[in-house]
Symmetry: C2
Subunit: 196 residues, 2 copies
DNA sequence: CGAGCGCTTGATTGAGTTCAAAAATCGTGG
DNA sequence: CCACGATTTTTGAACTCAATCAAGCGCTCG
């Protein structure tokens, strides 16, 4: 699984084998079963995860005990709580595995070494953060402006692969609606597509 | 106004006067009156703005003609559409001035030169992007999980200064509620604080 | 000083929630 | 491989929070 990570990094930076070896010397590989919790809300934790295989999610639990999915991370995605990772604050959310997964667990030292050793890693990081910001921006706009149906259609168009791998009730909480409402949205969409 | 910009940059990086001079050679200063539109939704535009004085906002207009504020930018904040700036896509939103403002207008060349000339600029940029991501993360969680009242109280706690400078109806659209609803939330909060 | 904008208030409506229960699907051990 | 319990999805009915529509008030700024 480390091979996949290396492949991913070398696709996005100009790191040589030696440089990668040096930087990645401290990372850990983990196999986690579906359901395994990797990070608990309110706890401080200094790891970020790269998903080599499988699917993770980040979610909060609010005062009423309701879950809200903040982020899905399939293969080749990063997942972690930046506020905990960089600022040592209590985590904003839980992270757990939706499928059996292979992950690379990374500490702050990885970034520190990367930044000093390889300028191209910085460029990659900046690109990644920009892309991420744009996606979050769009999500905020959807949450501010779109109806339940529009949000669902946007999700379907943007993440067709996740649709098959994530239970519907989790998608509902990602969209900011209840599972019951999502079921009704889908019913209504199906009705409109038959009645043509 | 360029002086303020320089001061800000040098507080956050280790750029020397010469380095700053070189990097900032292409930037433009602008004074804009309240109400001036700097960027229009759907248009592609390759500038980002640093607010030296005053207050800008970014907002979308949805299919029903309703405005939704995505971001407020007072002194020493950046504002711009990353998807337009970096990826040359049509902008997701409008940017205009809420107060008479002094701004520094920056093109892509500024970042390109910064990244090559000064490594400390990269570190600053990464830090900035991280902080930004964390804030957007928290906003998403609020929009997913919190009621109108909770969102307003969070806003008051987080941006007490903006409360006095931004019209109430704009704050409402930032929170994802209507101005009428915000008025009622405030009335209810006032009632509860008297009846003690 | 009056026209327009922002804020408030009231009455009504509506999108989505809640609570409850049935139907469908999944997964796991025998 | 099947059966049975658990989980997920669907459906129904009542309800609720916030939106909508409409009108009036009070500033301010032109």
């Amino acid at each position: 699984m480390l091979a996949r990570f290396k492949e991913y990094i070398q696709k996005n930076t100009t790191l040589s084998d030696e440089e990668f070896g040096h930087i990645a010397s401290g990372v850990q590989q983990k196999s986690v079963k579906k359901g395994t919790v990797l990070l608990k809300q309110e706890e401080q934790h200094s790891k970020t995860f790269f998903v080599a295989k499988g699917l993770l999610r980040a979610y909060t639990i609010d005062g009423n005990g309701k879950e809200h999915v903040v982020h899905f991370a399939p293969e080749n995605y990063w997942i972690g709580d930046r506020s905990s990772f960089y600022h040592h604050e209590p985590s904003l959310f839980f992270i757990d595995a939706i499928e059996d997964s292979e992950i690379i667990s990374i500490g702050l030292d990885f970034y520190e070494r990367s930044e000093s050793v390889a300028p191209s890693f910085n460029s990659y990081l900046i690109r990644l953060l920009h892309t991420n910001s744009i996606l979050m921006q769009k999500r905020i706009i959807m949450l501010l402006a779109a109806t339940a149906e529009e949000r669902y259609l946007d999700f379907v168009a943007r993440y067709p692969d996740l649709l098959l791998r994530v239970p519907q009730w989790m998608i509902a909480t990602y969209l900011g609606i209840t599972p019951e409402s999502l079921s009704r949205v889908r019913k209504e969409l199906a009705r409109r597509n038959f009645k043509r």
